[in-house]
């Protein structure tokens, strides 16, 4: 067994560490907050559709930040929206993760020198994964989610420093 440390034959007994077990559950139930502000949202919908099928990785869309683990920032963030992004992020329960999807959320992208556009969402909230592309394909978003799952699985959840 690769995922669980040791499994006894035919006895329904598994030996593993609690960290590992909890992380396995967390990584495979990354509920994400529906947060689309521009065309990246269309790719996000495609990823949720039958071809990408984001839900096979245990990622279900949530309409409320309080029940979400992951914030997918899909699209251009204006200065007016930046304050709302911060409020939504603060409403999410810990542990919380952020994927910055597309060039606009990463750095302002095409609209970087516009008067009303925030140059990267990392100026407001911490970002775990930066996903390049304008917009990224559904496969790229799936790959970002899998990378995030790898990161979550490595975390010492019960020994986390405050």
């Amino acid at each position: 067994m690769k995922t669980l440390y040791n499994k006894f034959e035919s006895d329904n007994i598994v030996l593993t560490s609690l960290d590992h077990l909890v992380n396995l559950a967390r990584a495979n139930s990354m509920w994400y907050l529906l947060f689309s502000t521009a065309c990246c949202g269309i790719e996000l919908m495609q990823t949720g559709g039958p071809r990408g099928d984001l839900e096979r990785f245990g990622s279900a869309p949530r309409a409320v930040p309080r029940t979400a683990d992951l914030m997918l920032v899909a699209g251009t963030i204006t200065l007016k929206m930046a304050e709302r992004v911060k409020i939504l992020y603060e409403q999410m329960a810990e542990p919380r993760y952020v994927i910055s999807m597309g060039s606009c959320a990463n750095s302002g992208g095409l609209f970087q020198s516009a008067y009303s556009v925030l140059d990267g969402v990392d100026r407001v909230i911490p970002v775990d994964i930066y996903l390049p592309g304008c917009p990224p394909r559904p496969e790229a978003l799936l790959s970002a989610l899998i990378d995030l799952q790898k990161k979550v699985k490595k975390e010492p959840y019960f020994r986390k420093k405050k």
């Binding site: 930046a82 750095s107 970087q112 020198s113 100026r123």
Partner: protein, 194 residues
């Protein structure tokens, strides 16, 4: 009815100062002096034969000397002698359409940058409400007679009007730092410092 016939109608039936702008810009328009815009609009809507019942769009732009020169390159712009010559002005456009008669017209006007004030046409077309709020938001034209003149897209405490040519983009907003990063600055042409 084509735009020339409409122009003749306005000229004969109202005492407004109008001129026909044939060569300026890609589409012909009727230039109306700013103080007679409301009377021309009222005539266009209420005259039976014209019956313009839809305001399709209302927009504008900030015209400087350099942008005038740009137009001179492509179109033969005739100087308007009857109008006081302002160096900078805001040009406003109204696109009208009639569903009944199936014809359209473009009305044009301008206000000086120092006294950017235009009569509101909300009393004629309800769709003017949000369009005028947008022009106020981005160009800073005020409309006396507008029922609810607030910013429509930018936050209410935003400073300045972004589509004016002398506008400088803010580097921070409500404590959020939005100044260009070192990487962004490295792409700027050398010798240019901000």
């Amino acid at each position: 009815m084509n735009i020339l016939q409409i122009f003749e109608q306005i000229k004969q039936n109202t005492d407004a100062v109008v001129s026909f702008q044939e060569d300026e810009g890609p589409t012909p328009s009727i230039y109306v002096r700013s103080d007679s815009v409301l009377s021309v609009m009222t005539y266009l809507k209420e005259e039976e034969a014209l019956d313009f019942n839809v305001l399709m769009n209302h927009t504008g732009f900030h015209e400087t000397e350099s942008s005038k020169l740009f137009w001179h390159l492509f179109f033969d712009v005739s100087q308007d002698e009857s109008e006081d010559h302002h160096h900078e002005e805001i040009r406003l456009f109204w696109h009208l359409y009639s569903y009944k008669v199936e014809h359209r017209v473009t009305i044009e006007s301008s206000v000086p940058i120092g006294k950017a004030q235009m009569d509101s046409v909300v009393s004629l077309w309800k769709s003017a409400n949000w369009l005028e709020r947008e022009v106020y938001d981005l160009l800073g034209v005020t409309y006396p007679g507008h029922p609810d003149l607030r910013r429509i897209m930018l936050p209410p405490d935003w400073e300045g009007h972004p589509l004016r040519k002398d506008y400088v983009a803010p580097t921070s907003y409500h404590g959020i730092d939005n100044s260009p990063s070192a990487l962004t600055k490295s792409f700027e042409p050398k010798g240019k410092s901000k």
